[in-house]
Amino acid sequence: MPDSRIDFSDIPESTEAELKRAVRVGRPKIGRTKGSAAQVASPRNTLRPRWDQAEFRHLVRTWKNERRATSSSVMIAMHPAYQRIIGLGLPAVPLILAELRRELDHWFWALKAITGEDPVPPERRGNMKEMAEIWLEWGRQRGYVR
């Protein structure tokens, strides 16, 4: 419905003083968008981690120290510390790959969850050494692994 057909008769008109105090909402008609919402959504801020390496290492230690004697990859990946590592997002990938290079461990679930990629062909699935090598090569090609 166009504005011209809306009945505003029961709404009192704003005074000059009220109009001066009012804040414009919505997108400005000209110029660049400013404000906190736009800054939060910028690519630079999206990639800037809101955590440090100490927090990552703490989560890794917790996950390893609380590891149960389970064969279930699901149970291993559902550990709260592991889930929080996934939540650290793309900036954690170089650290995860460095961990994987340092010590073979169950990082494949997290890498798939964060990156949305799976460089491991189905016939290599389950082979921990080969999967690690494939992911490290994937990281080298993208500059995540030096």
């Binding site: 609380e66 149960r68 004697a69 990859s73 990946a77 699935r125 389950g126 921990m128």
Partner: protein, 149 residues
């Protein structure tokens, strides 16, 4: 020597019940070890996010039927119980309180059992019950195949 696992994982496992027979390894798990595979981590996780090996053609789900079907590909079939039978090797499958498979143990020719404990060590244990508890539940089904000569 004590294993790397958390003490609370196996409250019924005493030093007299078992012997550690390998170093800890993340290359394989109990399901693989029972199947004779020391190169892969077997688990029927969702391939969209998981990474476990599962025999091709077998449904990938955490159910007893899926695990039985996985071992069927190696000629294991359900049998009546865990007692040692000449000429056969057996596998015991454990499930937790809600029926989700948790563990597999393989019988040795002497009647004892061998288990890989997650990504920790392999052990030889005298009974199946010593691994019972909240983590593994208890054995509910037994499979057997003819022992190769």
């Amino acid at each position: 020597m004590s294993g790397s696992w958390l003490p609370g994982d196996f409250p019924n496992l005493s030093a007299a019940d078992h012997e550690i027979t390998s170093a800890a390894s993340r290359l394989y798990n109990c399901i693989a070890w029972a199947a004779g595979d020391t190169q892969r981590w077997w688990w029927p996780d969702d391939p969209r996010i998981g990474y476990g090996y599962w025999p091709p053609g077998v449904v990938r789900e955490e159910t007893l039927n899926a695990f039985i079907a996985a071992y069927r590909t190696l000629n294991y079939h359900p049998c009546s119980g865990p007692d040692l039978e000449k000429g056969f090797e057996k596998i015991a499958l454990y499930v937790d309180l809600i029926g989700v498979p948790t563990h597999a143990a393989r019988q040795l020719p002497n009647g004892y059992w061998t288990s890989k404990l997650g990504d920790f060590e392999d052990i030889e244990h005298k009974t199946l019950d010593c691994l019972n508890g909240q983590l593994y539940g208890s054995p509910v089904i037994y499979l057997r195949r003819r022992r190769s000569s």
